[in-house]
């Protein structure tokens, strides 16, 4: 039994619920729970303490009735009271980092705002992941697919119910664990209370719908009774310690506490709530037994027997309950029929208690302060069956109305009525994770009929043609509320600044059985483009999902982005590799030529070990670098790159030959480049003005064969365009690097061409001579 001290001493503490074990209360009394969200460290309560009253803090919107949250501390809000202003707001892809600002005079501040109810606590992330694992492990039992006609596999049915009930139990435990973990953390009290309310709703749901039908579970009745009592007592923590102290403070020799109405009301309340040990402790502390023993043996016996019966309230089986109830009825009957030596009032009190425990409907209702107390009382003492739950609930709410301002009361009543559907909007507003997985498990249990599935085709909410498209819309009503919530939650997870939640989001989308795989594929492909990868492992995961769902577009997009990132980091080769993997051959070509150009401008090979290794293409050389292994090289160089980097490879060899003064080979290599048909026009100018002219044409001792001169002339005829802006820019760069060239080549491309032609003529003449 919950909340009971193992030893019931005479101290009044023994009469109290074991608040120490009620972890959820810790921190609230001592104020250790800050009324602030972790990521909004200066939110509302701070403004409350500085600026105003609780009323101000919890003001409600006059239009919607929603609670209004302040953008920042009240005194720091951008608009004065009564002032209007050009307020603007931008939602970010990360839900916690939205910005508001006022386009107004003398306000240049930006106001970060998180989406309300977004919990960025690490423990919450763990809770989400754990809950997902529980759902994932349900496997085939995630969908409710129990045949009711044809050959029915009863073993499967049993397995299904057992698995789903176990999953609900596990989700409940995870929520309990999560609450326990955050109780000492600096979190918003609203958030904490919302989770606590979720817990109460879940506890009720678990007790009513996920306990009694567990197959082959010997303790299912016990679990049900315990669950019920836990739910009722968790809900409001009544009777509270102050009240109990107040009741016992009236105790005096003239009028002992047991002669007061307050005492018997308290005792009966404890009994209705199934707090047997506390009730017995209450009787014992009142000293009624000691006094009755001397004055009224009948009453003494009745109370002693009651204690004995309460001590062995049967939770194991219906049969033992029937036996127990027969004894209670007999006790009650016997007492009613017996003469007593106590005052009429005290006798009535004792009789009422005995009647209540024997299941008297009127006494149960009379002594209940809330509808859930009497509901619990009916289950405990009348007939412990859910078949009468509707009736019990009806009687209970007729006596004590449901508090509609409470988050959980209406939900719990709906759960008892079997109207599970209606709890989800409330549960979702309290905590989306709990709501989603609860809905998913309720769906798996078959508790959720589809609200819209059987309605006429002309429902106002849905246009006629939507029927055609039901399979291609994730958020369609026809998928049912559970799957709607799963998708919404999956989407929400992608807005958290936490990449670890992405596998959960993708997993949730994958699991839903009612949507076709094309739709899932489209959705996943759209979402994945926003995946905030950081490490190689992240990229591996992303690629594996893309491979699984056959998403080449996402892969291309990823590699293009990676290529750009690498480029920004100055890793050109890695960037080109990524562009190549993205099939962005335009970029592969562009950056390969950029490398080529950079090398010409500096007049030497680029100082890039990877690039050098690639163009040397020799394992021995690779070994010398000590860094670039053949494996790395193989992974870096794609076929496209081999082609696009080949001009640079020739240029590299040219440098080598020039260095070794092998002028004829160097010239051949240079002419290979000059006559390369894919060479961009402006690079022809670069090659000729930077290398051909100063090394070969200006030096009369270096001969050039007639055919080579003709090749050069043909290339010039084909590609030299003095009006080409890029060519002029290239020429300017060459002149900038070697000021002496301007004296001979001039500063315009036309002048340079004339000089080059003249030199080529000379080479031809030289050859002829």
């Amino acid at each position: 039994m919950i909340n009971q001290d193992s030893t019931m001493d005479q101290d009044s503490n023994g009469l109290l619920m074991d608040v120490d074990n009620m972890d959820f209360l810790d921190g609230l009394d001592n104020g250790s729970v800050n009324t602030k969200n972790e990521n909004s460290d200066d939110s509302l309560d701070e403004s409350l303490s500085i600026n105003g009253s609780e009323e101000e803090l919890y003001q409600r919107d006059s239009i919607t009735g929603e609670l209004v949250m302040n953008l920042t501390k009240k005194y720091d809000l951008p608009l004065k009271k009564g002032d209007n202003g050009k307020l603007k707001f931008k939602l970010s892809n990360l839900g916690a980092y939205n910005l508001a600002y006022v386009t107004g005079k003398e306000n240049e501040k930006l106001y970060p705002v998180s989406i309300p109810n977004m919990d960025n606590n690490k423990q919450y992330y763990k809770y989400i992941t754990k809950s997902f694992q529980i759902y994932q492990e349900l496997g085939e039992h995630r969908s409710y697919d129990i045949p009711t006609i044809g050959v029915i596999n009863s073993t499967y049915q049993k397995e299904h119910i057992a698995s789903v009930n176990l999953a609900m139990e596990a989700i409940f435990s995870e929520l309990e664990y999560f609450l326990n973990e955050i109780k000492d953390e600096k979190i918003s009290i609203d958030r904490y209370m919302n989770l606590e309310d979720s817990m109460i709703i879940l506890q009720c749901l678990k007790a009513i719908h996920f306990t009694l039908d567990t197959p082959d579970e010997e303790k299912k009745r016990e679990n049900f009774i315990i669950g019920l009592i836990e739910w009722v007592n968790r809900s409001d923590g009544e009777p509270n310690s102050d009240y109990i102290s107040r009741v016992f403070s009236t105790d005096n020799l003239e009028k002992p506490v047991f002669q007061t109405n307050l005492f018997w009301t308290l005792l009966n309340q404890l009994l209705l709530r199934g707090l047997f040990e506390q009730a017995i402790g209450c009787i014992e502390k009142s000293r009624i037994l000691a006094i009755l023993k001397d004055i009224c043996q009948v009453s003494y016996n009745a109370l002693s027997d009651l204690i004995a019966l309460l001590n062995r309230y049967p939770v194991d089986s219906d049969e033992s309950f029937r036996e127990w109830k027969a004894m209670v009825l007999e006790l009650s009957q016997t007492f009613s029929n017996s003469e007593t030596n106590v005052s009429g009032e005290l006798r009535d009190y004792i009789e009422d208690t005995l009647l209540l425990v024997s299941g008297d409907r009127f006494k149960i209702l009379n002594y209940s302060k809330t509808w859930y107390e009497s509901f619990c009382g009916f289950i405990l003492y009348y007939i412990p069956t859910l078949e009468l739950a509707d009736e019990y609930l009806k009687l209970s709410v007729e006596r004590n109305a449901i508090d509609i301002t409470s988050n959980w009361e209406e939900c719990c009543a709906s759960i008892i009525k079997g109207n599970i559907y209606s709890i989800f909007p409330v549960l979702e507003s309290l905590d989306n994770c709990t709501a989603t997985f609860t809905a998913a498990i309720c769906e798996a249990k078959g508790l959720l009929g589809n609200l819209y599935a059987n309605e006429d085709e002309d429902i106002d909410l849905m246009s006629q043609h939507e029927d055609d498209n039901v399979l291609s819309d994730l958020l369609s009503q026809k998928n049912g509320i559970a799957y709607y919530m799963i998708y919404n939650f999956a989407f929400e997870l992608c807005s958290y600044d936490n990449k670890d939640l992405w596998p959960v989001a993708i997993g949730l989308i994958t699991f839903v059985p009612v949507v076709n795989s094309s739709t899932k594929r489209m959705t996943i492909s759209e979402l994945l483009q926003h995946y905030p990868y950081q490490t190689n492992d992240d990229i591996e995961w992303l690629l594996s999902v893309c491979a699984q769902w056959k998403l080449p577009y996402v892969i291309k997009s990823l590699f293009t982005k990676l290529g750009n990132s690498m480029m920004y980091e100055g890793k050109t080769i890695e960037a080109i590799t990524n562009f190549s993997r993205a099939s962005r051959f335009d970029l592969v070509k562009q950056y390969s030529w950029t490398l080529f150009e950079a090398s010409i401008i500096t007049g030497k090979p680029l100082e890039d070990e990877v690039l050098t290794a690639i163009v040397q293409g020799n394992e021995n050389t690779l070994g010398e670098t000590g860094i670039v292994t053949q494996d790395i090289l193989n992974s870096l160089v794609t076929n496209a790159m081999k082609q696009t980097l080949s001009p640079y490879a020739v240029l590299f060899r040219f440098y080598k030959e020039v260095e070794e003064q092998n002028w004829s080979i160097a010239l051949e290599l240079l002419i290979e480049l000059i006559t390369f048909k894919h060479l961009p026009d402006h690079y022809l100018v670069l090659l000729i003005t930077k290398f051909l002219y100063p090394i070969f044409l200006q030096d009369n001792s270096k001969l050039i064969s007639e055919s080579k001169v003709i090749d050069i002339i043909e290339a010039i005829e084909l590609k030299w365009d003095s009006n080409n802006e890029k060519s002029q820019n290239s020429f300017d760069v060459v002149l900038e690097a070697d000021k002496t060239l301007e004296k001979t080549l001039g500063d315009s491309l036309d002048d340079a061409l004339r000089e080059i032609r003249s030199k080529l003529n000379y080479k031809l003449c030289q050859e002829f001579m």
Partner: protein, 334 residues
């Protein structure tokens, strides 16, 4: 997170997040652009760089997709759009980290809005301003981001508005990869949907009706997991409107059904599709009871924000019963 001083010396007109939400760019009447980056450890926005970008108020700013590098476009009352690229070799806060790639100065009037097209359409942007002409530019050569070509000019108004009258212009691209190229353009109190046709020209294929004042803001929702599109507008008449757009092909098939086949190679059949558009005003909300200055959607198009003259931000969420309900109210008024 605490409010922070942007450092701007005059009105802030626009803020834009980069693709992953880790950087935010702001622009102001002080003619400067500022870029802030999110420090994950402290969850604070730190200034990365600030520079004078235009010769008049800068009123709109946007980031290109990271597939094209780190690029920003800004539009100003000086009648130009400028395109900027980050140079990581320059120090942060040096004022030189962002290089100007190009100035687009075709507009005859102050510019009001600039937006990059979604990445699948290439490196493309649209802008609109006081001359009432929608202009679309393309970087036709991906290797040369300094070269932008004016590929489309559409006169959205018979005559530009008189200078003495209040006017407003804004635009928003359809972000869906599975839909034909579209953009929503707001011109004064009209909201028009343009679509690129088979002839490669833009045509008006629908209007978002009902506005009774200048449309201050428009936002086309990401349509992840949905076969229809959502567009929200914020209007001077005090209303937030949400429109549902359904594309249908001639054969009755929904456009999204066809797009299932387009995942591998989106472009292949795009030309053959000519969907018609059904536009429905899904909901209309006058909760702000005053001019609505901005609307924006979250990453998945499931939450809409609206901010109004009443000093309140409202967050709207679609419910299971297919209605948009106000889920939160954020107050900016003391």
């Amino acid at each position: 997170m605490r409010p922070f001083d942007s450092g701007h010396e005059d009105l802030i007109h626009d803020v834009a997040y980069d693709f992953y939400g880790r950087f935010v760019a702001t622009c102001s009447s002080d003619q400067h652009i500022k870029v802030f980056k999110l420090d994950k450890e402290t969850t604070k926005w730190e200034l990365s760089d600030s520079w004078k970008a235009h010769n008049s108020s800068i009123v709109s700013i946007d980031w290109a997709s990271p597939e094209y590098g780190r690029i920003i476009a800004s539009a100003s009352y000086d009648k130009t759009v400028k395109i900027w690229e980050e140079n990581p070799d320059q120090e942060e806060n040096s004022g030189r980290r962002w290089n100007k790639l190009c100035t687009l100065n075709d507009s005859n009037g102050s510019l009001y809005s600039v937006k990059f097209a979604p990445s699948h359409l290439g490196l493309r942007l649209a802008c609109i301003g006081n001359d009432g002409i929608l202009r679309i530019y393309d970087a036709l050569e991906p290797s040369d981001l300094r070269s932008w070509t004016l590929t489309t000019e559409i006169k959205t108004l018979q005559t530009p508005p008189a200078n003495n009258l209040q006017s407003d212009f804004c635009l928003s691209w359809c972000p869906s990869r599975f839909s034909t190229e579209k953009l929503a353009v707001c011109v004064l109190d009209q909201a028009l949907i343009y679509q690129r046709g088979k002839d490669n020209k833009f045509q008006i294929i629908g209007k978002l009706l009902g506005h009774k004042g200048l449309v201050r803001s428009i936002s086309w929702a990401p349509s992840i997991g949905r076969w229809y599109q959502l567009i929200a507008t914020g209007c001077k008449d005090g209303k937030v409107r949400i429109y549902k757009l359904t594309e249908r092909l001639a054969n009755g098939e929904s456009a999204s059904e066809s797009s299932n086949n387009m995942l591998d190679d989106f472009a292949q059949d795009k030309e053959s599709l000519e969907p018609s558009l059904e536009i429905e005003l899904l909901s209309e909300h006058d909760d702000h009871k005053s001019e609505v200055w901005s609307v924006s959607w979250n990453l998945t198009g499931t939450i809409l924000s609206s901010a109004g003259e009443d000093g309140k931000v409202r967050l709207w969420k679609s419910t299971y019963s297919n209605e948009f309900k106000c889920m939160s109210v954020i107050n900016a008024q003391q």
